[in-house]
Symmetry: C2
Subunit: 290 residues, 2 copies
């Protein structure tokens, strides 16, 4: 038998991967959860049929969503992760000894259980004593928080299913309120090539609330188009100029994608993206780099 | 009928695209040439079954292989393109008024004819009076050249079929001899994620001959893994520090991917790549940026 898994990135584009075996299938209270083992990408976690992580390339997403905001913040002590039940973002957070509190709010406890069992390399940090896990809706949780976190990472699925509310302006306002005076939020914001409107909307929504908003890119081969985006919004920090240089260099000795040069370069957007963003009449490039 | 084209990026990975119609099929003297029309990427040119260009994303490849070396050179007048029969690289070269001679050496004249007919937006520059086209083997052509070009662009297929010799050290030595004293060569060097060895070999071969060698990346969604690499080697110019800043800024008003920030950022390699390269005992990042 030849078994192939195909994710449709549009009705007319698919990425197809040869599968060694099916490992786990479960309809949770929130979504369909499947785990497959592929020949080239190792184990794959799927939620509602979409690739969330693969063993081979998850490091790119988790390093880039974690180390950019942490290194741009002057001295983060507390971090909130919304989503991220696989544990990859927690694993990267644990590389930062200065973090005293790591709170994870994941809506689907069965994602956590499955990743602890089938993705030990990714979920290894979830049992660390610094990490407090809550299985509840991040949208509700955040409403009760006031200046309680230095960094918030929105490590969610795309804006379909249970994650829709994580892309709305009222949620971002609650995130703003939950952050300390020098706080930074980062969210994954999809493929800007394949889902340009989604990316633009996230940018616009966050920039209507935060003083400084920017977007950076990373290469993730199993995600639609291979190009992935993040939007970073901060109350005070400039994501490039305030990067702690020596700290970033040291961190780069323990990462597979992130380094201090990538940190800066990831904010350079190609023209087909940068021309869609302006800030106070300045082009995005000038706004960010000069 | 539902018609899908699938390119295998390995025996276990495929990119599959829904096809509206088959336009052209021809066994040339060199290779199999096919042109399909896809729903999401427009027309696609295939050589020996592999995607060469699509209407939707060809701009990334052609801008990045052309504008980086030209903008890093102090004052280029003459350029040789080996391969590139589709005309996309010529089209980008014609954005540089200072270029007086644009020579294209393409081994397969039927690629040129088919692209003139079916990809007018890509091949538009091939009839420009500055452009001299020769249908012959670039490997043989280059042997007769001595300090005759400021820039050479190797715009070839991957190292299979007629292009194998374009990745060998003896060919790169001939390229060195064909370049003027401040000459620059750039070659496409495949997916460094999917074909790491190919990329490394090109880098090593060029750096054994040229004083300065570096690699830069671009995002091309229809190429294997979506991440593509180029190797740039020069006799004197530093690819970042010698970028003509004002010129690059002006050029960025007429491009869809390239801009002066992307020019610099594209040379930042993620750790899983940069750690494989060293230069005189320095890490690649330090060698390039500091």
């Amino acid at each position: 038998m030849e078994l192939w898994f195909t994710e449709k990135h549009s009705p007319n584009i698919g990425l197809t991967l040869k599968i060694k075996r099916c490992i786990f299938h479960k309809k949770t209270s929130c979504q369909q959860l499947d785990i497959l083992e592929s020949l080239d990408y190792g184990k794959i976690l799927l939620l509602d049929g979409l690739v969330m992580i693969t063993e081979r390339d998850e490091f790119v997403y988790h390093e880039m969503i974690t180390h950019v905001p942490i290194t741009a913040h002057p001295d983060p002590k507390s971090i909130l992760i919304i989503g991220g039940g696989d544990g990859g973002t927690v694993r990267e957070c644990l590389k930062h000894a200065g973090l005293e509190r790591i709170d994870l709010v994941e809506i689907d406890g069965e994602v956590i259980d499955a990743c602890k069992k089938f993705f030990p390399e990714v979920s290894q940090g979830l049992n660390d004593p610094k990490v407090k896990i809550r299985v509840e809706d991040g949208i509700k949780f955040i409403k009760g928080q006031h200046k309680n976190y230095d960094i918030i990472i929105i490590d969610s699925t795309d804006p379909i299913g249970p994650a829709v509310g994580l892309f709305e302006k009222t949620f971002y306002q609650d995130v703003f309120n939950a952050l300390n005076t020098d706080g930074i939020v980062v969210t994954q914001s999809g493929s800007p090539f394949q889902s340009t409107e989604t990316w633009l909307n996230i940018f616009k929504n966050l920039s209507s609330i935060f003083p400084k908003t920017s977007s950076y890119l990373a290469f993730i081969p199993t995600y639609p188009s291979g190009l992935w985006s993040f939007v970073l919004a901060s109350k005070t920090a400039h994501p490039i100029k305030d990067m702690r240089y020596d700290y970033a260099r040291q961190l780069g000795a323990r990462t597979k994608y992130y380094n201090h040069a990538i940190h800066k370069s990831a904010f350079s957007l190609p023209n087909f993206l940068s021309t869609q963003l302006t800030s106070n009449g300045q082009t995005y490039i000038d706004h960010l780099h000069e």
